[in-house]
């Protein structure tokens, strides 16, 4: 599957880039003030074009910097500020590990505890490229319950960095009619890189039977 990549210039996340952090620290510790006061640092970010429908290619590949009908959060601190305002529904749509059958009896199956943005609801499976009616209904129902049925409620959706599941799920929520959908592009890695706290959560049970698919 070939997709042309374009380089879009966007404002980098505040905590992104170790080199920048080092430079800033250098400036603060040596000079007592930022070296490049007032300068906005630009960084080239790889971005895929927005697909027409849902993304059905590899889940872990370059993602867009846009989502039609929704907003993008590029900076974990902006997300933190948004959450402080209250009333925001936060959805983690990353995959949950699946235990394969016939694993050796002595082999430990010990998926790591799942770190999430505090207050997140974990809905695995709702961000796949194609979902069966059962998963679609599950997502609609969980969203309705979490938002109290208010389509104007702010809904933040994330998974990992370079992960299409959250883009697809956000697009799906927009399609359901939610008017304030925020896609947090940097995912849990971006949140943690900004030094923000996480909490451990368990997934909401996926509906039994057919799972979604990624053609």
């Amino acid at each position: 599957m070939d997709h042309s990549l374009s380089a879009a210039s966007i404002r980098p996340p505040r905590a992104g880039g170790a080199v920048r952090a080092l430079l800033l620290t250098f400036a603060l510790s040596v000079l007592g003030r930022p070296l490049f006061a007032g300068e906005v640092v630009e960084r080239k970010v790889l971005a895929a074009p927005e697909p027409q429908g849902y993304w059905t290619g590899p889940i872990n590949s370059t993602v867009p910097v846009t989502i039609a009908g929704g907003k993008i959060i590029h900076d974990a601190h902006d997300l933190q500020a948004l959450l402080k305002g209250g009333g925001v529904v936060v959805l983690d749509v990353s995959n949950a590990p699946r235990r394969p059958e016939n694993l050796a009896s002595g082999a430990p199956w010990l998926p790591l505890p799942h770190q999430a943005i505090p207050g997140s609801l974990w809905l695995p499976g709702v961000g796949l490229g194609e979902v069966p009616p059962s998963v679609d209904a599950f997502f609609r129902e969980r969203l309705a319950a979490a938002t109290g049925g208010q389509l104007a409620r702010k809904v933040v959706i994330y998974c990992h960095e370079t992960c299409w599941l959250s883009w697809n799920a956000a697009k799906r929520a927009i399609h359901y009619g939610y008017r304030n959908v925020y896609w947090f592009r940097d995912g849990i890695e971006g949140w943690k890189a900004a030094g923000l706290p996480t909490s451990l959560i368990k997934p909401e049970a996926e509906p039994a039977g057919e799972s979604g698919r990624q053609p």
Partner: protein, 269 residues
Amino acid sequence: MGSVRYLLLAALVVSMAQFCVGPAYADDDEAARADRWKDLQQAIFPGRPLKDGGGLIRLDAPPRALDAALVPITIDMTGGKRVKGVYVVIDGNPSPLAAHFTFGPKADPSSLKMRVRVDQYTNMHAIAETQDGQLFVATKFVKAAGGCSAPAGADDDAALEDIGRMKLHLIGDFAAGKSEQAVLMVRHPNFNGMQMNQITRYYTPPRFIRTIDATYEGGSIFHLDSDISLSTDPVITFGFVPQAKGQMKIIVRDSKDATFDHSFAVPGV
């Protein structure tokens, strides 16, 4: 003059460290990794102390892997025949015990290479077990993510078509009684059940290698218990000690109870 510069540099590094390492998340992650390793030790080596492997075992892997589904690792062991086996643990993987090699009388356990899947930023551990039952551990931190859900290839059917095909490649010149390195390549998708098939659009059912036995003239080189953390089309480099020309036999068993075996002629002088 030079020492002053170093002092300044050291002061700068210290002041930077205060700021850069400052955020709690780094410490939290370290603590979480340490806790994880404690849990895994309990699960895999209950009640057995692990000693620092310095001098006996060394683990090497790229700090940032190009492909999380194909992370090359190298284990060097200097214990010779004292080493009975080696465990490979990938802490962050849902099935963390990736491999357990038990060496036989024909083995040269000084060096071992393979390719593994890594699901998230993780510590890896290689643990050598000596004949007297002591455990020695080496650690390496690897930045790679997504190796468990990365598709094995474009076409599952093609991957299954020549499943079990093997190649063996010998490195270096043969000399009786001297250690020889061999590279074993096995065609096997090692499906872990977490990959999405690109054509049928569903999760590919798991099918992975459970054991590999390598023997030389009837004597064991190694027995491997492996798991879903082994990469697609496993490649394993190992040492053995041929006495004369003879046959190396490889037997692979997978989770569908299929057995594949192949004999290779090891040339004499």
